[in-house]
């Protein structure tokens, strides 16, 4: 048993203006240097929530604006690449964005800009949390409940809580603290890759189930012969039931 279980919550992101408005490289740099970490997180990391099913993620908000409004594809590419690691601490991310913009401003006219109508308005967001009514006591229960967790909740527990807190909602940390090192490792490495959210959600669920197969096999060997036979019969019955279903049933 763990000291405390893990409660899954979904979140809605309440967006509001962060203050700065950029019309050129210099004001973009100033905005990135001064906005709270939550605003950087919104414009770069939270992209995956806005495009959960994308085959390839669109560039982050800064990169897209520099490409479309400032018409600078080279800088847009560099800013897009800087935001591809979702678990990077926000101050490291801020520093890497500023390095790119300092380099650009040093080489180009910083006042090359865009009409005010196409300005970049910094936004930030507050997460409104709501318990899903899904709780686990042990790490090995997490793969079982994972399919009942929506993608916004997955984003919150895997990425947002890890980067912005609070620590009690950081799923990977909870898994590590409670002996679920393998599950934590799988989640951490896949999340670091920065893939689209639905793919990440599914991939983690599938890798977790596979990771638990050896432990399940070991547990089976400890069960009595009659229990194992009963379980085997149930598996065969389920399989036969699936075969009996018509394609129409399967669709419905």
């Amino acid at each position: 048993m763990t000291d405390t279980g893990f409660r899954f919550s979904t979140v809605a992101h309440l967006e509001f203006p962060a203050g700065p408005v950029a019309t050129d490289f210099a004001t973009l740099r100033e905005g990135i240097a001064t906005v709270p970490p939550g605003s950087l997180f919104h414009h770069i990391i939270r992209m995956v929530v806005r495009h959960p099913r994308a085959h390839d993620l669109p560039p982050n908000d800064f990169a897209r604006w520099v490409g479309v409004a400032l018409q600078d594809p080279e800088t847009a590419e560099r800013l897009a690449f800087a935001g591809t690691q979702p678990l990077l601490p926000m101050e490291e991310l801020r520093a890497s964005l500023l390095r790119i913009l300092d380099d650009v401003i040093g080489r180009k006219r910083p006042d090359i800009g865009t009409p005010h109508a196409a300005a970049f308005h910094f936004v930030t967001a507050r997460s409104v949390k709501a318990p899903l009514g899904v709780e686990t006591e042990l790490p090995e229960q997490v793969p079982e409940v994972w399919r009942h967790v929506d993608s916004a909740a997955a984003f919150y527990h895997l990425i947002e809580a890890r980067v912005l807190g609070p620590v009690e909602d950081d799923l990977v940390l909870w898994l590590e603290r409670n002996g679920g090192h393998k599950l934590a490792g799988v989640a951490e490495s896949l999340t670091m890759g920065g893939m689209p959210l639905l793919r990440l959600h599914r991939e983690i669920g599938s890798r977790w189930r596979r990771a638990l197969i050896p432990a399940r096999l070991v547990r089976r060997t400890e069960e009595s012969e009659s229990v194992r036979r009963q379980e085997a019969r149930e598996v065969v019955a389920r399989f036969a039931g699936r075969l009996r279903k018509t394609p129409q049933d399967a669709k419905g």
Binding site: P17, A117, V128, A130, L132, V149, D150
Partner: protein, 420 residues
């Protein structure tokens, strides 16, 4: 004086004839957005247990706001958040003044006279006595009913002003008339950050949304599309370039005709300008006459005045289009863009208002900033069916994830939760 009375029973939004008999709208949404999204909505709604919401606007028919409210009220009730919808009534004089304010807030120069102010205030006083504003949170939509707060706010109530208009080019006189009322609210909501004026109250950003099951957006077989085109006396042979919008100067129908004139000089195509007027828009007839005059000078242009309730026809017209245009000069959000994207149509639209949130340039559609640009992008799409299909598919996915009612409900629930 003619009173404009809403045609739908004020307190019975749940009696909407389009409501499914079994399982409700949320069940239908499950097929589109998945069960996880609905479970998440239910979880957030549980936090509002025991609270009641009242929505207030000025029309039950016509315009995007009424369309959204018809469905949101039902969905919120299905989620267990008791929500009622009150409609502020007005006469021609009141709606004349509010149209003036609406235009001025969009940036068109209008004079707000002392008489206009008195007409607005007098109607607000009358309606403040009549409307049932007894919820825990009152959500006021747009400027027309904004003045109610000073007369009806009860202790403990939260009032939120939801502005669907782009205020970035607002006329200062009109805004100064409205601002003292707005500043009394606990929070404001805007559709996009570019629309937000400086305010001393918290401001939240909530884009509007569409209903994929409404008559305007539901799936439609090709036979039904063809039969509706035939009934409207429109030739099947296209390709059709279409703008479906209220006949309003800010939608730039004359600019669309001019862009099409350039297209038609280079490619064979037909233009359809279709739309109607909202019940609170007395200017529509005049603009329609100007559009008809302009259209008569260009080959293959059809102007179609649609009566209220032409949702099925709009659905068919969008589906029959090779290219859907939205060449607005100013916009609130332009939900017609999301409607076209939902139908996997290729869209050419101006980069104004909420359009760039829906049309990600070269990914879900094409943006333009001039008449020539609109013509150029339309020709690109007419020439390249692969591009049309790619943009259409991406646009559909983008709307599913960001501009369906379930997302807007989630955002509202977040606002309500943070205030109650």
């Amino acid at each position: 004086m003619n009173e404009t009375v809403p045609s739908v029973e004020v307190d019975s939004p749940l009696l909407d004839s389009a409501e499914p008999e079994m399982n409700g709208w949320l069940h239908r949404y499950e097929r589109v957005v998945g069960p996880d999204t609905l479970r998440a909505l239910e979880a957030i709604a549980r936090r509002l247990k025991g609270h009641r919401i009242v929505m207030v606007n000025t029309t039950k028919t016509g315009g995007g706001v009424a369309e959204i409210l018809h469905r949101l009220v039902v969905i919120l009730n299905e989620l267990g958040v008791p929500t009622t919808w009150e409609v502020m009534e007005g006469d021609d004089r009141f709606f004349g003044v509010t149209k003036k304010i609406h235009n001025a807030l969009h940036g068109h120069s209008e004079t707000l006279t002392a008489e206009d102010r008195e007409i607005y205030m007098e109607r607000t006083r009358r309606e403040a006595q009549r409307l049932a504003l007894d919820g825990d949170l009152i959500l006021i939509h747009d400027p027309q009913p904004a003045g109610l707060i000073a007369l009806r706010r009860a202790p403990g109530q939260r009032w939120v002003w939801r502005c669907h208009i782009d205020l970035s080019s607002r006329d200062p006189d009109h805004w100064e008339f409205l601002r003292p009322s707005v500043c009394q609210y606990d929070a404001s909501i805007f559709s996009a950050i570019e629309f937000v004026p400086p305010l001393p109250i918290p401001t939240y950003l909530v884009p509007p949304s569409i209903d994929p099951f409404s008559a305007k957006n539901r799936d439609m077989e090709q036979e039904e599309v063809s039969s509706i085109m035939e009934r409207l006396d429109l030739p099947r042979r296209g390709p059709w370039v279409t703008q479906i919008s209220r006949f309003d100067r800010i939608k730039d129908p004359i600019g669309v005709i001019e862009a099409f004139r350039m297209v038609r000089a280079r490619r064979r195509a037909r233009l359809l300008l279709a739309g109607g007027g909202a019940s609170d828009d007395p200017e529509g007839a005049q603009v329609l006459a100007e559009v008809r005059e302009g259209a008569a000078k260009v080959k293959d242009v059809t102007v179609l005045e649609l009566p209220p309730g032409s949702d099925v026809e709009i659905n068919a017209l969008q589906r029959a289009s090779a290219v859907v245009m939205q060449k607005s000069l100013r916009e609130g959000f332009a939900l017609t863009v999301s409607e076209a994207l939902w139908k996997r149509r290729a869209v050419v639209a101006s980069a104004v208002g909420g359009i760039p949130l829906q049309v990600l340039h070269e990914r879900t559609g094409l943006l333009s900033r001039s008449i020539e640009g609109a013509a150029l992008q339309t020709i690109r799409l007419l020439d390249n069916s692969d591009l049309r299909h790619e943009l259409g598919a991406e646009g559909h996915a983008h709307v599913r994830d960001n501009f369906l009612h379930t997302r807007e409900v989630r955002d509202y629930l977040a606002v309500f939760t943070s205030l109650l």
